[in-house]
Subunit: 300 residues, 2 copies
Protein backbone atom coordinates (compact mmCIF):
# COMPACT_ATOMS: atom_id res chain seq x y z
CA UNK A 1 0.00 0.00 0.00
CA UNK A 2 1.25 3.42 -0.98
CA UNK A 3 1.97 5.54 2.11
CA UNK A 4 1.58 8.95 0.42
CA UNK A 5 -1.53 11.07 1.22
CA UNK A 6 -4.67 9.27 0.19
CA UNK A 7 -5.59 11.93 -2.36
CA UNK A 8 -2.46 11.02 -4.36
CA UNK A 9 -3.45 7.37 -4.55
CA UNK A 10 -4.22 5.57 -7.76
CA UNK A 11 -7.83 4.37 -7.56
CA UNK A 12 -8.96 1.47 -9.75
CA UNK A 13 -12.65 0.89 -10.42
CA UNK A 14 -13.53 -2.70 -11.24
CA UNK A 15 -16.68 -2.34 -13.30
CA UNK A 16 -17.84 1.08 -14.49
CA UNK A 17 -21.54 1.83 -14.17
CA UNK A 18 -23.78 4.46 -12.64
CA UNK A 19 -22.35 4.28 -9.11
CA UNK A 20 -18.67 3.70 -9.85
CA UNK A 21 -18.76 6.19 -12.72
CA UNK A 22 -20.35 8.76 -10.42
CA UNK A 23 -17.68 8.19 -7.77
CA UNK A 24 -14.90 8.43 -10.37
CA UNK A 25 -16.37 11.69 -11.67
CA UNK A 26 -16.90 12.99 -8.12
CA UNK A 27 -13.23 12.29 -7.27
CA UNK A 28 -12.17 14.18 -10.39
CA UNK A 29 -14.51 17.06 -9.53
CA UNK A 30 -13.10 17.14 -5.97
CA UNK A 31 -9.55 17.51 -7.29
CA UNK A 32 -8.31 13.97 -6.57
CA UNK A 33 -4.64 14.03 -7.54
CA UNK A 34 -4.01 10.33 -8.14
CA UNK A 35 -4.79 8.40 -11.31
CA UNK A 36 -8.30 7.02 -11.81
CA UNK A 37 -8.26 3.67 -13.61
CA UNK A 38 -11.00 1.43 -14.90
CA UNK A 39 -11.15 -2.30 -15.46
CA UNK A 40 -13.97 -4.42 -16.79
CA UNK A 41 -14.57 -7.55 -18.82
CA UNK A 42 -15.57 -5.51 -21.90
CA UNK A 43 -14.37 -2.20 -23.34
CA UNK A 44 -17.54 -0.18 -24.23
CA UNK A 45 -18.47 1.24 -20.82
CA UNK A 46 -14.79 1.87 -20.04
CA UNK A 47 -14.39 3.74 -23.31
CA UNK A 48 -17.46 5.81 -22.48
CA UNK A 49 -16.07 6.52 -19.01
CA UNK A 50 -12.78 7.71 -20.47
CA UNK A 51 -14.56 9.82 -23.11
CA UNK A 52 -16.68 11.40 -20.34
CA UNK A 53 -13.50 12.21 -18.41
CA UNK A 54 -14.46 10.02 -15.46
CA UNK A 55 -11.38 7.78 -15.66
CA UNK A 56 -7.88 8.46 -16.97
CA UNK A 57 -7.12 5.05 -18.39
CA UNK A 58 -8.55 1.58 -18.56
CA UNK A 59 -7.42 -1.98 -19.13
CA UNK A 60 -9.16 -5.30 -19.68
CA UNK A 61 -6.29 -6.98 -17.77
CA UNK A 62 -7.14 -7.28 -14.09
CA UNK A 63 -3.55 -7.97 -13.02
CA UNK A 64 -2.31 -4.87 -14.77
CA UNK A 65 -4.84 -2.66 -13.00
CA UNK A 66 -4.27 -4.27 -9.60
CA UNK A 67 -0.52 -3.81 -9.88
CA UNK A 68 -1.00 -0.05 -10.35
CA UNK A 69 -3.71 0.54 -7.75
CA UNK A 70 -3.41 1.87 -4.20
CA UNK A 71 -7.18 1.59 -3.79
CA UNK A 72 -9.48 -0.87 -5.55
CA UNK A 73 -13.21 -0.09 -5.70
CA UNK A 74 -15.43 -2.90 -6.89
CA UNK A 75 -18.47 -1.42 -8.64
CA UNK A 76 -20.76 -4.26 -9.63
CA UNK A 77 -24.10 -5.82 -8.65
CA UNK A 78 -23.94 -8.11 -5.59
CA UNK A 79 -23.43 -11.45 -7.33
CA UNK A 80 -20.73 -10.13 -9.67
CA UNK A 81 -19.07 -8.42 -6.69
CA UNK A 82 -19.07 -11.67 -4.75
CA UNK A 83 -17.52 -13.47 -7.71
CA UNK A 84 -14.81 -10.88 -8.20
CA UNK A 85 -13.88 -10.20 -4.58
CA UNK A 86 -12.02 -13.46 -3.73
CA UNK A 87 -10.01 -13.17 -6.92
CA UNK A 88 -9.09 -9.56 -6.17
CA UNK A 89 -8.05 -10.09 -2.57
CA UNK A 90 -6.31 -13.33 -3.48
CA UNK A 91 -4.13 -11.38 -5.90
CA UNK A 92 -3.85 -8.22 -3.80
CA UNK A 93 -0.98 -9.50 -1.63
CA UNK A 94 1.10 -9.96 -4.79
CA UNK A 95 0.48 -6.38 -5.89
CA UNK A 96 1.47 -4.24 -2.91
CA UNK A 97 -1.63 -4.93 -0.82
CA UNK A 98 -3.94 -2.16 -2.04
CA UNK A 99 -6.98 -1.18 -0.03
CA UNK A 100 -10.06 -2.96 -1.39
CA UNK A 101 -13.65 -1.79 -0.95
CA UNK A 102 -16.96 -2.53 -2.60
CA UNK A 103 -20.26 -0.70 -3.02
CA UNK A 104 -22.80 -3.51 -3.08
CA UNK A 105 -26.21 -2.99 -1.48
CA UNK A 106 -25.91 -6.18 0.59
CA UNK A 107 -23.03 -6.89 2.88
CA UNK A 108 -23.41 -10.34 4.47
CA UNK A 109 -23.36 -12.16 1.14
CA UNK A 110 -20.31 -10.16 0.00
CA UNK A 111 -18.38 -10.67 3.23
CA UNK A 112 -19.16 -14.41 3.16
CA UNK A 113 -17.81 -14.62 -0.39
CA UNK A 114 -14.38 -13.20 0.49
CA UNK A 115 -12.63 -16.53 1.34
CA UNK A 116 -9.55 -14.77 2.78
CA UNK A 117 -9.39 -12.48 5.84
CA UNK A 118 -7.66 -9.71 3.92
CA UNK A 119 -6.85 -6.80 6.29
CA UNK A 120 -7.10 -4.24 3.48
CA UNK A 121 -10.75 -5.08 2.71
CA UNK A 122 -13.36 -2.60 3.97
CA UNK A 123 -16.94 -3.42 2.85
CA UNK A 124 -18.97 -0.33 1.96
CA UNK A 125 -22.34 0.81 0.64
CA UNK A 126 -23.16 4.33 -0.53
CA UNK A 127 -26.86 5.13 -0.01
CA UNK A 128 -27.23 6.76 -3.39
CA UNK A 129 -28.21 5.66 -6.84
CA UNK A 130 -30.86 6.18 -9.44
CA UNK A 131 -33.43 4.32 -11.49
CA UNK A 132 -31.11 4.95 -14.42
CA UNK A 133 -28.16 2.66 -15.04
CA UNK A 134 -24.91 2.67 -16.94
CA UNK A 135 -21.88 4.95 -16.85
CA UNK A 136 -23.63 7.51 -19.07
CA UNK A 137 -26.04 8.21 -16.18
CA UNK A 138 -23.12 9.04 -13.82
CA UNK A 139 -23.43 12.25 -11.81
CA UNK A 140 -20.57 13.85 -9.87
CA UNK A 141 -22.97 15.16 -7.19
CA UNK A 142 -24.60 11.79 -6.53
CA UNK A 143 -23.04 11.36 -3.08
CA UNK A 144 -23.34 14.92 -1.75
CA UNK A 145 -24.92 14.77 1.69
CA UNK A 146 -25.63 11.05 1.31
CA UNK A 147 -24.61 8.42 3.82
CA UNK A 148 -21.98 5.79 3.08
CA UNK A 149 -22.24 2.82 5.41
CA UNK A 150 -19.00 0.95 6.09
CA UNK A 151 -19.12 -2.42 7.81
CA UNK A 152 -15.46 -2.96 8.86
CA UNK A 153 -14.61 -6.55 9.77
CA UNK A 154 -12.67 -7.75 12.83
CA UNK A 155 -9.57 -8.15 10.68
CA UNK A 156 -10.00 -4.86 8.79
CA UNK A 157 -6.90 -2.65 8.99
CA UNK A 158 -7.46 0.77 10.61
CA UNK A 159 -5.40 2.53 7.93
CA UNK A 160 -7.48 0.92 5.18
CA UNK A 161 -10.65 2.07 6.93
CA UNK A 162 -9.37 5.64 7.21
CA UNK A 163 -8.40 5.67 3.54
CA UNK A 164 -11.86 4.51 2.41
CA UNK A 165 -13.47 7.11 4.68
CA UNK A 166 -11.27 9.87 3.20
CA UNK A 167 -12.20 8.86 -0.31
CA UNK A 168 -15.92 9.12 0.48
CA UNK A 169 -15.81 12.31 2.54
CA UNK A 170 -13.82 13.97 -0.25
CA UNK A 171 -16.92 13.67 -2.48
CA UNK A 172 -19.29 15.06 0.14
CA UNK A 173 -20.61 11.85 1.69
CA UNK A 174 -21.22 11.19 5.40
CA UNK A 175 -19.73 8.04 6.97
CA UNK A 176 -21.62 5.62 9.23
CA UNK A 177 -20.34 2.36 10.68
CA UNK A 178 -22.64 -0.62 11.16
CA UNK A 179 -22.35 -4.32 11.70
CA UNK A 180 -22.90 -6.46 8.63
CA UNK A 181 -26.11 -7.92 10.09
CA UNK A 182 -27.53 -4.52 11.10
CA UNK A 183 -26.73 -3.11 7.68
CA UNK A 184 -28.57 -5.88 5.91
CA UNK A 185 -31.61 -5.64 8.21
CA UNK A 186 -31.81 -1.83 8.13
CA UNK A 187 -31.30 -1.59 4.37
CA UNK A 188 -33.81 -4.37 3.75
CA UNK A 189 -36.34 -2.05 5.41
CA UNK A 190 -35.18 1.33 4.09
CA UNK A 191 -34.24 0.43 0.52
CA UNK A 192 -34.83 -3.17 -0.56
CA UNK A 193 -38.43 -3.30 0.66
CA UNK A 194 -39.37 0.06 -0.93
CA UNK A 195 -38.09 -1.28 -4.26
CA UNK A 196 -40.21 -4.42 -3.93
CA UNK A 197 -43.21 -2.20 -3.07
CA UNK A 198 -42.68 -0.11 -6.20
CA UNK A 199 -42.46 -3.31 -8.26
CA UNK A 200 -45.60 -4.79 -6.68
CA UNK A 201 -47.56 -1.54 -7.21
CA UNK A 202 -46.45 -1.28 -10.83
CA UNK A 203 -47.35 -4.91 -11.56
CA UNK A 204 -50.74 -4.45 -9.87
CA UNK A 205 -51.45 -1.38 -12.04
CA UNK A 206 -50.37 -3.31 -15.13
CA UNK A 207 -52.98 -5.98 -14.34
CA UNK A 208 -55.78 -3.47 -13.62
CA UNK A 209 -58.53 -3.35 -16.25
CA UNK A 210 -58.82 0.46 -16.13
CA UNK A 211 -55.13 1.14 -16.87
CA UNK A 212 -54.84 3.47 -13.86
CA UNK A 213 -51.20 4.38 -14.51
CA UNK A 214 -52.39 6.66 -17.31
CA UNK A 215 -54.22 8.69 -14.63
CA UNK A 216 -51.25 9.03 -12.30
CA UNK A 217 -49.88 12.26 -10.86
CA UNK A 218 -46.87 13.09 -8.74
CA UNK A 219 -47.71 10.52 -6.08
CA UNK A 220 -47.64 7.69 -8.58
CA UNK A 221 -44.59 9.17 -10.30
CA UNK A 222 -42.66 8.93 -7.05
CA UNK A 223 -44.13 5.64 -5.84
CA UNK A 224 -43.17 3.87 -9.08
CA UNK A 225 -39.97 5.71 -10.11
CA UNK A 226 -37.68 2.98 -8.78
CA UNK A 227 -39.68 0.27 -10.58
CA UNK A 228 -37.57 1.35 -13.58
CA UNK A 229 -34.38 0.31 -11.75
CA UNK A 230 -31.93 -2.25 -13.10
CA UNK A 231 -33.67 -5.67 -13.00
CA UNK A 232 -30.41 -7.60 -12.61
CA UNK A 233 -29.29 -5.47 -9.68
CA UNK A 234 -32.58 -5.98 -7.88
CA UNK A 235 -32.76 -9.67 -8.67
CA UNK A 236 -29.30 -9.97 -7.11
CA UNK A 237 -30.30 -8.01 -4.02
CA UNK A 238 -33.46 -10.07 -3.52
CA UNK A 239 -31.47 -13.28 -3.94
CA UNK A 240 -28.62 -12.27 -1.65
CA UNK A 241 -30.46 -10.48 1.18
CA UNK A 242 -33.37 -12.89 1.11
CA UNK A 243 -34.03 -13.46 4.80
CA UNK A 244 -33.86 -9.81 5.87
CA UNK A 245 -35.95 -8.77 2.88
CA UNK A 246 -38.65 -11.35 3.62
CA UNK A 247 -38.75 -10.12 7.23
CA UNK A 248 -39.18 -6.54 6.05
CA UNK A 249 -41.87 -7.55 3.55
CA UNK A 250 -43.76 -9.37 6.29
CA UNK A 251 -43.53 -6.40 8.66
CA UNK A 252 -44.90 -4.19 5.88
CA UNK A 253 -47.70 -6.62 5.15
CA UNK A 254 -48.65 -6.53 8.84
CA UNK A 255 -48.76 -2.73 8.80
CA UNK A 256 -50.74 -2.76 5.54
CA UNK A 257 -53.19 -5.14 7.22
CA UNK A 258 -53.52 -2.90 10.27
CA UNK A 259 -54.27 0.10 8.09
CA UNK A 260 -56.70 -1.96 6.04
CA UNK A 261 -58.58 -2.88 9.22
CA UNK A 262 -58.94 0.78 10.19
CA UNK A 263 -60.28 1.59 6.74
CA UNK A 264 -62.67 -1.35 6.72
CA UNK A 265 -63.94 -0.35 10.18
CA UNK A 266 -64.32 3.27 8.97
CA UNK A 267 -62.38 4.40 12.05
CA UNK A 268 -61.63 7.97 10.98
CA UNK A 269 -60.11 9.02 14.29
CA UNK A 270 -57.60 6.15 14.36
CA UNK A 271 -56.73 6.76 10.70
CA UNK A 272 -56.08 10.42 11.34
CA UNK A 273 -53.77 9.54 14.25
CA UNK A 274 -51.98 6.97 12.07
CA UNK A 275 -51.47 9.51 9.29
CA UNK A 276 -50.40 12.29 11.70
CA UNK A 277 -47.73 10.06 13.21
CA UNK A 278 -46.42 9.23 9.73
CA UNK A 279 -46.36 12.89 8.71
CA UNK A 280 -44.34 13.74 11.79
CA UNK A 281 -41.79 10.95 11.22
CA UNK A 282 -41.43 11.86 7.55
CA UNK A 283 -40.94 15.54 8.37
CA UNK A 284 -38.42 14.70 11.10
CA UNK A 285 -36.32 12.81 8.54
CA UNK A 286 -36.65 15.20 5.63
CA UNK A 287 -33.13 16.58 5.99
CA UNK A 288 -31.69 13.10 5.70
CA UNK A 289 -33.91 12.11 2.78
CA UNK A 290 -33.61 15.45 0.97
CA UNK A 291 -29.99 16.57 1.54
CA UNK A 292 -29.95 18.73 -1.56
CA UNK A 293 -32.70 21.09 -2.67
CA UNK A 294 -36.09 20.14 -4.06
CA UNK A 295 -34.74 20.66 -7.55
CA UNK A 296 -32.38 17.77 -6.88
CA UNK A 297 -32.77 15.01 -9.43
CA UNK A 298 -33.98 11.52 -8.59
CA UNK A 299 -31.61 9.46 -6.45
CA UNK A 300 -31.97 6.04 -4.85
CA UNK B 1 -75.23 32.12 -15.89
CA UNK B 2 -73.27 34.87 -17.53
CA UNK B 3 -73.15 34.36 -21.31
CA UNK B 4 -69.98 36.39 -21.95
CA UNK B 5 -66.76 34.51 -22.87
CA UNK B 6 -65.74 32.18 -20.07
CA UNK B 7 -62.49 34.05 -19.43
CA UNK B 8 -64.50 37.12 -18.37
CA UNK B 9 -66.41 35.13 -15.77
CA UNK B 10 -66.25 35.79 -12.07
CA UNK B 11 -64.90 32.66 -10.41
CA UNK B 12 -65.57 32.04 -6.73
CA UNK B 13 -63.47 29.59 -4.75
CA UNK B 14 -65.22 28.08 -1.76
CA UNK B 15 -62.34 27.20 0.54
CA UNK B 16 -58.82 28.36 -0.23
CA UNK B 17 -56.05 25.83 0.23
CA UNK B 18 -53.22 24.30 -1.79
CA UNK B 19 -55.33 23.18 -4.77
CA UNK B 20 -57.83 26.01 -4.98
CA UNK B 21 -55.12 28.59 -4.28
CA UNK B 22 -52.99 27.07 -7.03
CA UNK B 23 -55.88 27.20 -9.49
CA UNK B 24 -56.68 30.80 -8.53
CA UNK B 25 -53.03 31.74 -9.02
CA UNK B 26 -52.85 29.80 -12.28
CA UNK B 27 -55.92 31.62 -13.63
CA UNK B 28 -54.29 34.95 -12.74
CA UNK B 29 -51.03 33.86 -14.37
CA UNK B 30 -52.94 32.80 -17.51
CA UNK B 31 -54.51 36.25 -17.83
CA UNK B 32 -58.03 35.38 -16.66
CA UNK B 33 -60.01 38.59 -17.09
CA UNK B 34 -62.88 37.98 -14.67
CA UNK B 35 -62.79 38.56 -10.92
CA UNK B 36 -61.42 35.84 -8.66
CA UNK B 37 -63.29 35.64 -5.35
CA UNK B 38 -62.76 33.62 -2.23
CA UNK B 39 -65.14 32.42 0.42
CA UNK B 40 -64.48 30.40 3.56
CA UNK B 41 -65.71 29.98 7.10
CA UNK B 42 -62.68 31.86 8.50
CA UNK B 43 -60.66 34.81 7.26
CA UNK B 44 -56.95 33.86 7.70
CA UNK B 45 -56.38 31.71 4.61
CA UNK B 46 -58.49 34.10 2.53
CA UNK B 47 -56.42 37.04 3.74
CA UNK B 48 -53.26 35.14 2.85
CA UNK B 49 -54.67 34.35 -0.60
CA UNK B 50 -55.44 38.01 -1.21
CA UNK B 51 -52.02 39.08 0.06
CA UNK B 52 -50.40 36.55 -2.28
CA UNK B 53 -52.42 37.99 -5.18
CA UNK B 54 -54.28 34.73 -5.80
CA UNK B 55 -57.76 36.20 -5.28
CA UNK B 56 -59.07 39.72 -5.79
CA UNK B 57 -61.57 39.83 -2.94
CA UNK B 58 -63.09 37.57 -0.34
CA UNK B 59 -66.16 37.37 1.83
CA UNK B 60 -67.27 35.19 4.75
CA UNK B 61 -70.86 35.46 3.45
CA UNK B 62 -71.66 32.57 1.12
CA UNK B 63 -74.74 34.23 -0.36
CA UNK B 64 -72.78 37.33 -1.27
CA UNK B 65 -70.15 35.32 -3.11
CA UNK B 66 -72.68 33.10 -4.88
CA UNK B 67 -74.64 36.12 -6.09
CA UNK B 68 -71.51 37.48 -7.81
CA UNK B 69 -70.17 34.23 -9.26
CA UNK B 70 -70.48 32.85 -12.79
CA UNK B 71 -68.43 29.82 -11.79
CA UNK B 72 -68.21 28.30 -8.33
CA UNK B 73 -65.24 26.03 -7.54
CA UNK B 74 -65.48 24.08 -4.30
CA UNK B 75 -61.97 23.51 -2.94
CA UNK B 76 -62.27 21.38 0.18
CA UNK B 77 -61.56 17.83 1.37
CA UNK B 78 -64.20 15.26 0.40
CA UNK B 79 -66.39 15.40 3.51
CA UNK B 80 -66.43 19.20 3.66
CA UNK B 81 -67.17 19.28 -0.08
CA UNK B 82 -70.10 16.90 0.38
CA UNK B 83 -71.46 19.08 3.20
CA UNK B 84 -71.17 22.28 1.20
CA UNK B 85 -72.38 21.05 -2.20
CA UNK B 86 -76.12 20.63 -1.48
CA UNK B 87 -76.23 24.07 0.13
CA UNK B 88 -74.45 25.65 -2.84
CA UNK B 89 -76.59 24.07 -5.55
CA UNK B 90 -79.72 24.61 -3.46
CA UNK B 91 -78.96 28.34 -3.49
CA UNK B 92 -77.53 28.50 -7.02
CA UNK B 93 -80.91 28.77 -8.75
CA UNK B 94 -81.60 31.94 -6.76
CA UNK B 95 -78.32 33.50 -7.87
CA UNK B 96 -78.33 33.25 -11.65
CA UNK B 97 -77.49 29.54 -11.85
CA UNK B 98 -73.69 29.68 -11.87
CA UNK B 99 -71.68 26.69 -13.03
CA UNK B 100 -70.58 24.63 -10.01
CA UNK B 101 -67.62 22.27 -9.94
CA UNK B 102 -65.55 20.59 -7.25
CA UNK B 103 -62.05 19.18 -7.01
CA UNK B 104 -62.42 16.35 -4.52
CA UNK B 105 -60.38 13.16 -4.99
CA UNK B 106 -63.47 10.94 -4.75
CA UNK B 107 -66.50 11.39 -6.93
CA UNK B 108 -69.20 8.86 -5.95
CA UNK B 109 -69.52 10.18 -2.41
CA UNK B 110 -69.68 13.77 -3.68
CA UNK B 111 -72.25 13.05 -6.38
CA UNK B 112 -74.39 11.13 -3.87
CA UNK B 113 -74.32 14.11 -1.52
CA UNK B 114 -75.73 16.56 -4.07
CA UNK B 115 -79.48 16.05 -3.27
CA UNK B 116 -80.59 18.07 -6.32
CA UNK B 117 -79.99 17.23 -10.00
CA UNK B 118 -78.53 20.65 -10.74
CA UNK B 119 -77.69 20.92 -14.48
CA UNK B 120 -74.85 23.36 -13.81
CA UNK B 121 -72.91 20.92 -11.61
CA UNK B 122 -69.87 19.26 -13.23
CA UNK B 123 -67.85 17.06 -10.82
CA UNK B 124 -64.11 17.29 -11.35
CA UNK B 125 -60.77 16.10 -10.01
CA UNK B 126 -57.38 17.56 -10.95
CA UNK B 127 -54.63 14.92 -10.68
CA UNK B 128 -52.21 17.26 -9.00
CA UNK B 129 -51.32 18.18 -5.48
CA UNK B 130 -48.48 18.03 -3.01
CA UNK B 131 -47.56 16.70 0.38
CA UNK B 132 -47.70 20.33 1.50
CA UNK B 133 -51.01 21.91 2.42
CA UNK B 134 -52.49 25.36 2.83
CA UNK B 135 -52.80 28.33 0.48
CA UNK B 136 -49.19 29.37 1.20
CA UNK B 137 -48.04 26.21 -0.65
CA UNK B 138 -50.01 27.20 -3.79
CA UNK B 139 -48.14 27.02 -7.09
CA UNK B 140 -49.38 28.51 -10.35
CA UNK B 141 -47.75 25.72 -12.40
CA UNK B 142 -49.32 22.89 -10.42
CA UNK B 143 -51.65 21.80 -13.22
CA UNK B 144 -49.33 22.15 -16.23
CA UNK B 145 -49.48 18.94 -18.21
CA UNK B 146 -51.58 17.25 -15.53
CA UNK B 147 -54.86 15.50 -16.16
CA UNK B 148 -58.18 16.82 -14.87
CA UNK B 149 -60.84 14.13 -14.78
CA UNK B 150 -64.42 15.31 -15.19
CA UNK B 151 -67.29 12.95 -14.45
CA UNK B 152 -70.29 14.72 -16.03
CA UNK B 153 -73.66 13.43 -14.86
CA UNK B 154 -76.70 12.54 -17.02
CA UNK B 155 -78.27 15.88 -16.13
CA UNK B 156 -75.07 17.95 -16.54
CA UNK B 157 -75.51 20.87 -18.92
CA UNK B 158 -73.23 20.82 -21.99
CA UNK B 159 -72.44 24.53 -21.65
CA UNK B 160 -71.45 24.06 -18.02
CA UNK B 161 -69.15 21.20 -19.02
CA UNK B 162 -67.50 23.30 -21.74
CA UNK B 163 -66.98 26.18 -19.30
CA UNK B 164 -65.29 23.95 -16.71
CA UNK B 165 -63.11 22.44 -19.46
CA UNK B 166 -62.08 25.91 -20.64
CA UNK B 167 -61.14 26.96 -17.13
CA UNK B 168 -58.84 23.93 -16.75
CA UNK B 169 -57.27 24.01 -20.20
CA UNK B 170 -56.49 27.70 -19.70
CA UNK B 171 -54.07 26.69 -16.90
CA UNK B 172 -52.37 23.98 -18.96
CA UNK B 173 -54.29 20.91 -17.82
CA UNK B 174 -55.51 18.03 -20.02
CA UNK B 175 -59.18 16.97 -19.79
CA UNK B 176 -60.39 13.38 -19.47
CA UNK B 177 -63.96 12.19 -19.04
CA UNK B 178 -64.77 9.14 -16.93
CA UNK B 179 -67.78 7.64 -15.24
CA UNK B 180 -68.01 8.24 -11.51
CA UNK B 181 -67.46 4.53 -10.76
CA UNK B 182 -64.46 4.22 -13.09
CA UNK B 183 -62.93 7.35 -11.60
CA UNK B 184 -63.20 6.03 -8.09
CA UNK B 185 -61.81 2.59 -9.01
CA UNK B 186 -58.93 3.94 -11.14
CA UNK B 187 -57.94 6.61 -8.63
CA UNK B 188 -58.16 4.15 -5.76
CA UNK B 189 -55.41 2.24 -7.58
CA UNK B 190 -53.33 5.13 -8.96
CA UNK B 191 -53.49 7.56 -6.04
CA UNK B 192 -55.35 6.42 -2.93
CA UNK B 193 -53.54 3.07 -2.67
CA UNK B 194 -50.07 4.62 -3.16
CA UNK B 195 -50.81 6.99 -0.29
CA UNK B 196 -51.81 4.09 1.97
CA UNK B 197 -48.59 2.29 0.93
CA UNK B 198 -46.49 5.32 1.87
CA UNK B 199 -48.27 5.47 5.23
CA UNK B 200 -47.82 1.74 5.88
CA UNK B 201 -44.13 1.88 4.96
CA UNK B 202 -43.52 4.91 7.17
CA UNK B 203 -45.31 3.33 10.14
CA UNK B 204 -43.37 0.08 9.65
CA UNK B 205 -40.07 2.02 9.66
CA UNK B 206 -41.17 3.89 12.79
CA UNK B 207 -41.68 0.56 14.56
CA UNK B 208 -38.33 -0.92 13.39
CA UNK B 209 -35.71 -1.28 16.13
CA UNK B 210 -32.83 -0.11 13.87
CA UNK B 211 -34.46 3.21 12.89
CA UNK B 212 -33.91 2.53 9.19
CA UNK B 213 -35.38 5.84 8.02
CA UNK B 214 -32.14 7.51 9.13
CA UNK B 215 -30.35 5.39 6.50
CA UNK B 216 -32.69 6.26 3.66
CA UNK B 217 -31.69 7.61 0.27
CA UNK B 218 -33.65 8.84 -2.73
CA UNK B 219 -35.76 5.68 -2.95
CA UNK B 220 -37.07 6.13 0.57
CA UNK B 221 -37.40 9.89 0.05
CA UNK B 222 -39.80 9.26 -2.83
CA UNK B 223 -41.58 6.24 -1.34
CA UNK B 224 -42.47 8.18 1.84
CA UNK B 225 -42.86 11.75 0.54
CA UNK B 226 -46.65 11.58 0.45
CA UNK B 227 -46.78 10.18 4.00
CA UNK B 228 -46.42 13.86 4.98
CA UNK B 229 -49.74 14.65 3.24
CA UNK B 230 -52.69 16.24 5.02
CA UNK B 231 -54.07 13.64 7.50
CA UNK B 232 -57.64 15.01 7.34
CA UNK B 233 -57.71 14.87 3.56
CA UNK B 234 -56.55 11.27 3.51
CA UNK B 235 -58.82 10.20 6.33
CA UNK B 236 -61.70 11.64 4.29
CA UNK B 237 -60.61 9.84 1.13
CA UNK B 238 -60.23 6.52 2.94
CA UNK B 239 -63.66 6.97 4.53
CA UNK B 240 -65.43 8.03 1.35
CA UNK B 241 -63.86 5.73 -1.25
CA UNK B 242 -63.71 2.77 1.11
CA UNK B 243 -64.81 -0.08 -1.11
CA UNK B 244 -62.64 0.79 -4.12
CA UNK B 245 -59.68 1.46 -1.85
CA UNK B 246 -60.03 -1.87 -0.06
CA UNK B 247 -60.19 -3.62 -3.45
CA UNK B 248 -57.01 -1.86 -4.55
CA UNK B 249 -55.27 -2.69 -1.27
CA UNK B 250 -56.22 -6.34 -1.66
CA UNK B 251 -54.95 -6.46 -5.25
CA UNK B 252 -51.67 -4.94 -4.07
CA UNK B 253 -51.41 -7.43 -1.21
CA UNK B 254 -51.88 -10.25 -3.75
CA UNK B 255 -49.09 -8.86 -5.92
CA UNK B 256 -46.86 -8.36 -2.87
CA UNK B 257 -47.52 -12.00 -1.96
CA UNK B 258 -46.65 -13.18 -5.48
CA UNK B 259 -43.37 -11.29 -5.40
CA UNK B 260 -42.67 -12.59 -1.90
CA UNK B 261 -43.12 -16.18 -3.16
CA UNK B 262 -40.59 -15.62 -5.94
CA UNK B 263 -38.10 -14.22 -3.43
CA UNK B 264 -38.68 -17.02 -0.95
CA UNK B 265 -38.21 -19.57 -3.75
CA UNK B 266 -35.03 -17.78 -4.86
CA UNK B 267 -36.40 -17.77 -8.41
CA UNK B 268 -34.00 -15.27 -9.96
CA UNK B 269 -35.22 -15.73 -13.50
CA UNK B 270 -38.87 -15.07 -12.64
CA UNK B 271 -37.86 -12.07 -10.53
CA UNK B 272 -35.86 -10.59 -13.37
CA UNK B 273 -38.84 -10.99 -15.72
CA UNK B 274 -41.13 -9.41 -13.12
CA UNK B 275 -38.80 -6.43 -12.69
CA UNK B 276 -38.23 -6.05 -16.45
CA UNK B 277 -41.97 -5.89 -17.09
CA UNK B 278 -42.31 -3.20 -14.40
CA UNK B 279 -39.44 -1.18 -15.82
CA UNK B 280 -41.06 -1.23 -19.24
CA UNK B 281 -44.47 -0.14 -17.95
CA UNK B 282 -42.93 2.63 -15.86
CA UNK B 283 -40.87 3.90 -18.78
CA UNK B 284 -43.90 3.76 -21.09
CA UNK B 285 -45.79 6.05 -18.71
CA UNK B 286 -42.98 8.44 -17.84
CA UNK B 287 -44.32 11.26 -19.99
CA UNK B 288 -47.64 11.14 -18.16
CA UNK B 289 -46.05 10.90 -14.72
CA UNK B 290 -43.30 13.45 -15.43
CA UNK B 291 -44.97 16.10 -17.61
CA UNK B 292 -42.50 18.78 -16.58
CA UNK B 293 -38.74 18.33 -16.35
CA UNK B 294 -36.86 16.33 -13.72
CA UNK B 295 -36.22 19.56 -11.83
CA UNK B 296 -39.99 19.80 -11.35
CA UNK B 297 -40.90 19.97 -7.67
CA UNK B 298 -42.90 17.31 -5.87
CA UNK B 299 -46.51 16.97 -6.98
CA UNK B 300 -49.22 14.47 -6.06
Amino acid sequence: MNSSPVHDWTVAFLGLGLISGSLAGALKAAGWRGQILGWGPRAPSLEKGRALGLIDQFSLDLDEVLSDADMVVIGAPPIATAQLLPEVIGKAVYYGSPVVTDMASVKGFIVDSAKYDYPGFVPGHPIAGSEHSGVEAARADLFKGREVILTPLPHSDEKALVAVEKMWTSVGARIAHMSVADHDAALAASSHLPHMMAYALTAMLDDHELGPMAHGGGALRDMTRIAASDPVMWRDIALTNQEALLNAMDALADEHGRLRSLIEAGDGEAMEQFFLRCRQLRRDNDRILNPLTHTDEAQV
